[in-house]
Amino acid sequence: MRSIDCAQITETVAQLAIEANYVLGADVKAALRQALERGSSPQGKQVLEQLLENAEIAEQERVPMCQDTGYAVVFLELGQEAHIIGGYLYDAVQEGIRRGYREGYLRKSIVAYPFTRRANTKDNTPAVIHTEIVPGDSLKITVVPKGAGSENMSRLFMLIPAEGVEGIKRVVVRAVDEAGPNPCPPVIVGVGIGGTAEMVMLLAKKALLRPLGEPNPDPEMAALEHDLGQAVNALGIGPAGFGGRVTALAVHVESFPAHIASLPVGVNIQCNAARHKSIVL
């Protein structure tokens, strides 16, 4: 049994929230550069250049790369041999988000009572927390600031098994097509297949956390990712939606066993400010 102190968790979550918002991952920057080299529309190229310049400014001047510093989604992988001391784990995470959003000058974008008063909670809490119990005695914390422009384009499709892979392709391409310029292309498309309705949406979001350019280890899934990428980029939406061949930097697919009657497909679109940052305690 190993002890992990809540104070350390709070401090870590605060730092992750700030770093994720200030520093675009090397994998995303590399993908933007590759997209630029691959060629696109003249206006698309200008957009990609501006996004790379923006990432440089944000990193060097330590400011948020996007004004939508997001809903803070926190993934925890808690080792079953670890012992949390000094408080309640979720309180420690919420305090970390509160502190990180204040100290990092990040925008507070959460409103309580979403369909009535919409009063701002003023500290960007609550975070959405997903916890998985894993072997071992460590705690992996991942903070994902998720902007609403892309999150609003999420879709759930409960297909029937007969629709198969063609049905999956049809709905994923439809979701990206209908999203059009709204989610800040070039995007990363997270696709979940299988499980239940709520699980497939979580799978779709988790698919966004895989490093860009790293295909699914299963060859069949990797082939599907490739085909979906081709189909999505053939739409012509392009960077910022101004037209071009780079609509998505990647399509990431994750799957899980499904019920004999079901073929759930979840789509979660990630904007070009593809932010997430992890630390293992």
């Binding site: 709905v171 053939a234 012509g236």
Partner: protein
């Protein structure tokens, strides 16, 4: 092409879909909650907190300014959420809107009717865009926090014309030009 805000009718008539512009002058920052209040003021016959004649509204909710900064990061938010409020503001004299993403057919028709334009700023380029904002002050609805109504003074603010007064749409044109013919759209839609 350089252009001053507020926009004149003549300037708007000269702008076409796809034109890249650099805007200098005054913009008003407003998003969902501020729009709701502006339209409510118009419906109740109250004056707006700014002169709408030729005014240009930027759909933005910036991050808090760090010490020494004029404004935090300030990229565009998705515009379709403002569609339900746009037409009364255009009728009141607003001549330009800046955001990102497509507009409803009703808003596009109103742009032609009122001789106004819709422009896109680059979504995600918030730190870069903030450098063109030279001054910012809250002029109303301070209690809305990141959704307060701001007056912004900008120099060479970069934007691209998406919908002009002639019915053009950059997003539609871009897709038509760049969609791959090998992927017939009929096979892609459900």
């Amino acid at each position: 092409m350089k252009i001053s805000a507020p926009f004149t009718e003549e300037a708007v008539c000269n702008l076409k879909v796809g034109d890249a512009v650099e805007i200098s002058g005054t913009l008003y920052a407003a998003r969902d909650a501020a729009h709701k209040r502006l339209v409510s003021a118009l419906e109740n016959g109250h004056p707006l907190p700014f002169d709408p004649q030729g005014a240009v509204i930027y759909y933005v909710g910036p991050t808090p300014a760090k010490p020494g900064q004029v404004i935090g990061s300030a990229g565009p938010t998705t515009s379709y959420r403002m569609d339900p409020y746009a037409i009364p503001l255009l009728a009141a004299g607003v001549r330009g809107m800046i955001g990102k993403g497509g507009r409803s057919p009703e808003v596009k028709a109103a742009l032609q009717r009122y001789k106004a334009i819709y422009l896109a700023a680059i979504g995600g380029a918030a730190a870069l865009i903030a450098k063109t904002i030279k001054a910012a002050e809250v002029i109303a609805y301070e209690e809305l926090g990141p959704e307060a109504l701001l007056r912004l003074s900008v120099k060479d603010f970069p934007a691209v014309v998406v919908n002009d007064i002639y019915g053009g749409d950059l997003y539609e044109r871009g897709k038509q030009q760049w969609a791959s013919p090998s992927e017939p759209s009929s096979g892609l839609r459900g």
